[in-house]
Symmetry: C2
Subunit: 371 residues, 2 copies
């Protein structure tokens, strides 16, 4: 990325390098296509209709969302194959889901309990419709998802519910358990694929027509695809990448397509300087359930390895120097690599896009939605 556009930026901001993002999209699409699985990227990372459209045009089967409010925004932009990979609970949510199903070519919904499936069944029945659902299975992440050993019995119950059509199963296998990231991604992906394929087999034996077996996040996505045991992967972060994915061995620093630009606003003493972004700019979900000191800081200052962003207030980021001297001056613009790009973009109403020598401003269309 050229840096001659710096003068046109208002900081603190995030700049996306469109060319790099396109290469990242192509790389994941090629891996999925080569393995013969569908790619259904999670839009949680970018939340922008333009980038979702780009993923579709490059070959993605459809998209994944976490919220119906986000799915609505995506459907408005013309995307018509959407999976909301989240249990739909609450009347306010069900009403919007049923409405969306009525105007979206294909809408698939997550279910992971008798209760949530029952509510969904009632909502679709009431509307005289039939909703397509996938069963979420817990393969070790301990968040949503029916416990693995109970999946067959829940699937049977859901399959019998009127108003619903069970067509698949899905899982998210966290790489971080009890605060310790898995080192062996291939082994984790193999286990993920095998667990899902075994369950699909059991369900088919029970007479349930499981068509889609969906798994895989960004770090595990290509490895899960290569097992040949699933039909679909749902990575999200790969579109931009970040420091976390470099740590996990999936991306290289030069493949990171989004970074911060900040301005040094104060250099009160030699050993620290202040930049114009703090906790309202840099997310602090560095590594879930792990103390922040596990990571080098809330962002990495490019070209200044001696600087550490470890202390912030709401609009103040304090860069401390390991050498006792920051070497920075007031007005200097710095480039900072995000630790986790999904929550970083989620803080912004707009981001900049750098494309073929030009810089423009994009709205983060689906950010800040509730439902």
């Amino acid at each position: 990325m050229d840096i001659d556009f710096i003068d046109s930026l208002e900081t603190p901001c995030i700049v996306i390098d469109r060319h790099k993002a396109e290469k990242n999209i192509a790389r994941m699409q090629e891996a999925a296509s080569r393995a013969g699985v569908d790619l259904r990227p999670h839009i949680k990372t970018h939340k922008m209709c333009g980038y979702a459209g780009l993923q579709i045009r490059q070959g993605a089967k459809g998209i994944t969302c976490a919220k119906v409010s986000e799915a609505e925004v995506m459907a408005d932009s013309g995307i018509d194959d959407i999976f909301i990979a989240y249990p739909q609970v609450g009347n306010f949510r069900l009403e919007r889901v049923v409405k969306l199903a009525g105007r979206c070519g294909r809408l698939i919904l997550g279910v992971d309990s008798l209760e949530s499936a029952g509510m969904l069944s009632q909502a679709f029945l009431k509307a005289g419709m039939r909703g397509e659902v996938r069963l979420e299975v817990d393969t070790g992440a301990r968040r949503t998802g029916v416990p693995y050993e109970q999946a067959v019995s829940l699937a049977r119950a859901v399959d019998r519910m009127p108003g619903l059509k069970l067509t698949g199963i899905y899982t998210f296998k966290s790489l971080v358990l009890q605060g310790t990231p898995t080192k062996d991604i291939k082994a984790a992906a193999k286990e993920e694929g095998e667990m899902m394929a075994r369950l699909a087999g059991d369900l088919r034996e029970s007479g349930i027509a499981v068509k889609d077996i969906s798994a895989g996040s960004t770090p595990t996505g290509t490895a899960v695809a290569e097992t040949g045991l699933v039909t679909e992967i749902r990575p999200g972060t790969y579109i931009f990448n970040d420091h976390m994915l470099c740590c996990e061995g999936w991306a290289r620093p030069e493949e990171i397509a989004a970074c911060y630009y900040v301005t040094v606003v104060s250099t009160p003493r030699p050993d620290y300087a202040v930049i114009d972004g703090g906790t309202k700019t840099f997310p602090m979900d560095i590594l879930l359930d792990t103390p922040p000191y596990y990571y080098p800081g809330y962002g990495l200052v490019e070209g200044h390895p001696h600087l550490c962003l470890r202390r912030m207030n709401e609009e103040h980021g304090i860069l401390e120097s390991k050498t006792g001297d920051t070497g920075l001056h007031v007005g200097q613009v710095l480039r900072i690599t995000p630790i986790h790009i999904c929550t970083a973009i989620n803080m912004q109403n707009t981001v900049y896009e750098y494309h073929e020598g030009k810089i423009s401003r994009l709205k983060v269309d689906a950010r800040g939605m509730l439902v």
Copy 2:
């Protein structure tokens, strides 16, 4: 707050109890008025024009902002006495500052270095205007602010700069240093007042007409006001309060005017349940530069002291039970006390307001601004 409006909420969301907020505003205003100091609340907490207007109508002298983009939004709503308590660095910022000064009754700007003051001086000179500035002094927080011992010499230089009019000094004295919160707020406030009064005296002796001595955040605000040593306080969080302020001894739980409502979406096993908000709903800046386990969790589940929100993904909040049994069911709505309300509201495009039995939706007008 009544809970009969729960059915009308879309979760996850923040609900503000207008009546409690009004009482909080009145309480701080009375304390300031009683001590004979100006109250200039920081709008960083609410970022809503309506609440800023309410603070003014109840007696606040003006408002404090961190960003010129936020100040513009406030000025658009008719507020005409604004202090941007932040060094104004970067041409993109200076242009907007000068423009705003031209249309705002009184705009005061922070300066804390020769460099930032020089840039501001040039920008105002070019526009044929004179900008009112206050010198930010570091009284121990080690973020922006000229080092205390260099304040007199910087003030002299700023006072001589064309295009600027130095009328005051200000500081933010953090209660949290090296990760350890100060226990004795009165003592901290006394020190803050004494340092600022001593500096003001030194400056006046040098012939600089220091009119305003501004200090005090929410926990220290009333105590600083009572020292009689400052002319203005700038608290922000007091309007809504939060768990952090209860820990600091400033607020009582019943004075917290803003809380989360979330829905339980999954109860896969007895010992944990999942709610529909995660790291994109609950901020994680629990206590700056302190590991998250210092605090009980990312929010406190009201009425369920055995539940702990310690693990999150982007849209998943995992409530773990200390007793091994959450006792929750799918569809249950929970009320969660925010740890830090300023960064919590900053995640939301809109919040609900509960007022005289009615619930309505308010836009968080000035959130997500860059500059």
